[in-house]
Symmetry: C2
């Protein structure tokens, strides 16, 4: 493996970073010393989260393009910052790698991290590198939010409308293509994007927090059924979801013919598929019309409402209700 200094240099070339220099803005000292130094302004609060992206658990080093591995590692970690309504600012990167992954593979991973960092406006300010048997990417992200504006999971009230951004289940559909080795089929290539290169609705999250529209907000990383249950638990409430309103991915007939159909019900993917990184938030009814000014308003869907009690009910088209069980899962995760 390169020396740690060489790795820092390679990383610095691929990823927006400040190496040891004083910079404008809140960053006082970047990579290269014992630690980074930031000088916050008095008007904002800092939001912090960390996330692991591990070979064999979250990605397959031989099946997933390394550029996607790097990109997704940073996007996943940053999704939690967006979910607070904060703007991403800085990140720290701890890498552990086997020596055979330190050449071109690592360069591609760093390229993917760099691409995500530019998209998310993140600067690398620190890290650590070690040699080990399996790839592990650990990322800590710092975001900034106007004081008192961070949107939490607590505070949803009965009657609040439940919204989601985007369409759900698209990442899970892309994963099915990887698992069934259909990644080279040109007609399905676009369906892979949400799995390999997810986008997060950053501008929407910041807008919602700034205008104090939602009562609660979180990202959908483990599937709607799992994450909505977490939101309800944190707020001590229940929910009622209209199955027909849950925005889901369209599955082309040509793909259905190639895959075992039982696994690919669009509603099931939307309810339980993870990795979408869309926003889930609740809005008091009197605030709902303010949403029209939100960036990406057309991609927002009201899917249900918060209820008293603690159950989450899924209402079918016929009006019949059933309890929605948390079914979010990651097929790589051994439980």
């Amino acid at each position: 493996m390169d020396s740690e200094d060489q790795l820092v240099e390679r990383t610095g070339r691929a990823v927006p970073s400040r190496i040891g220099k004083r910079a404008r803005g809140p960053l006082r000292l970047g990579i290269g010393d014992d630690a980074a130094v930031i000088a916050p302004s008095g008007h904002s609060e800092w939001v912090l989260t960390c996330d692991q992206f591990l070979e064999g658990v979250h990605f397959l080093a031989d099946s997933h393009p390394p550029d996607s591995v790097g990109y997704k590692a940073l996007v996943r970690a940053t999704s939690d910052i967006a979910a607070m309504g904060a703007s991403p600012r800085f990140f720290l990167l701890a890498l552990a790698l086997p020596s055979r992954r330190t050449g071109a593979w690592l360069d591609a991973v760093l390229h993917g991290i760099g691409r995500a960092a530019r998209l998310l406006n993140l600067g690398l300010i620190g890290g650590d590198t070690t040699e080990i048997g399996k790839v592990s990417i650990n990322i800590t992200v710092l975001g900034e939010v106007e004081s008192g504006h961070a949107v939490m999971r607590t505070g949803a009230k009965p009657g609040d409308i439940i919204y989601v951004s985007g369409k759900l289940g698209r990442a899970r559909l892309g994963l099915e293509l990887v698992r069934n080795k259909l990644t080279k089929t040109p007609q399905f290539r676009a369906l892979l994007i949400p799995h390999l290169y997810p986008r997060i609705p950053l501008r929407l999250g910041v807008w919602l927090a700034r205008h104090r529209v939602p009562s609660t907000m979180m990202d959908i990383s483990d599937g709607l059924s799992t994450d909505l249950a977490r939101l309800c638990r944190a707020s001590h409430v229940g929910a009622r979801i209209w199955a027909e309103r849950v925005p889901h991915a369209a599955i082309p007939a040509s793909l259905l013919r190639r895959l075992p159909q039982s696994r690919l019900d669009p509603l099931q993917l939307a309810l339980h598929g993870g990795d979408d990184y869309e926003l889930l938030f609740t809005v008091p009814p009197r605030q709902a019309k303010r949403l029209r000014r939100a960036p990406g308003f057309r991609d927002l869907t009201p899917i249900g409402e918060i209820t008293r009690g603690k159950r989450i009910i899924l209402l079918g088209a016929d009006g019949a209700g059933s309890i929605l069980k948390s079914g979010g899962w990651d097929p790589f995760r051994r439980r």
Copy 2:
């Protein structure tokens, strides 16, 4: 494995943490939401660092007591905060574990982390847990320092006096006991402590930064020879070290009889042994007398001086000089 919620609860019992509650001080929101929120004051800067502590690289899960694994993981990460002269405040903990390590072993690790957190005055504000084949402990630490007072590696000038705190090589001596399976021998037990439960000179670091005594400072984590070379590179200077002055561990004759002597020259351990987490700093001569008021002044040793040029020279008792090569190493690390 327990559910993530149960793990968060177990961690919260063992480690000082704020679970989802608003708290006094800069912490606005702790564990349990998408991310933690801190509200910094305008007078201070935040110092950030991350560190990996990995099974088979930094510790042996079957040889090292799990309490020490947890303790040391947090102390190592925090050492970089102390090295900036900052006070530790908060940390994030990302754990990856095989399922057979999630029972009593994990409880002992968490106990060790909790012990270190109380000693270092650190609160846990976030984390992530995943199941995987080998143990990986990833820690991000945030410290706070008065604006403009963080002490960096750049800025050492020719003539500055080089100081170290404590005695060097003690952690490496303890490691030799582990490697030679002498951990159960009662007479050697005290020699294990610096390896298993290192202390970091936190108060000293904070005092030095507050009084602006040193021109540069860093911690000695990879051995004096390696870390001094880093400091000199960052400051574009060289150094002259008096071998006789380097404070080293005493090795009992009874231990020398039990171990291959060639490995245990006290000066070699002090120069190249890692894991000591003592402070290495440089002081302009006119500032040196102010050091007398430093906490732990008696444990400080001037070992040499900064020179023009880029070489690091080790001067023997006879006045003969030789180039000091970076020899710090970690026997678990495969290179």
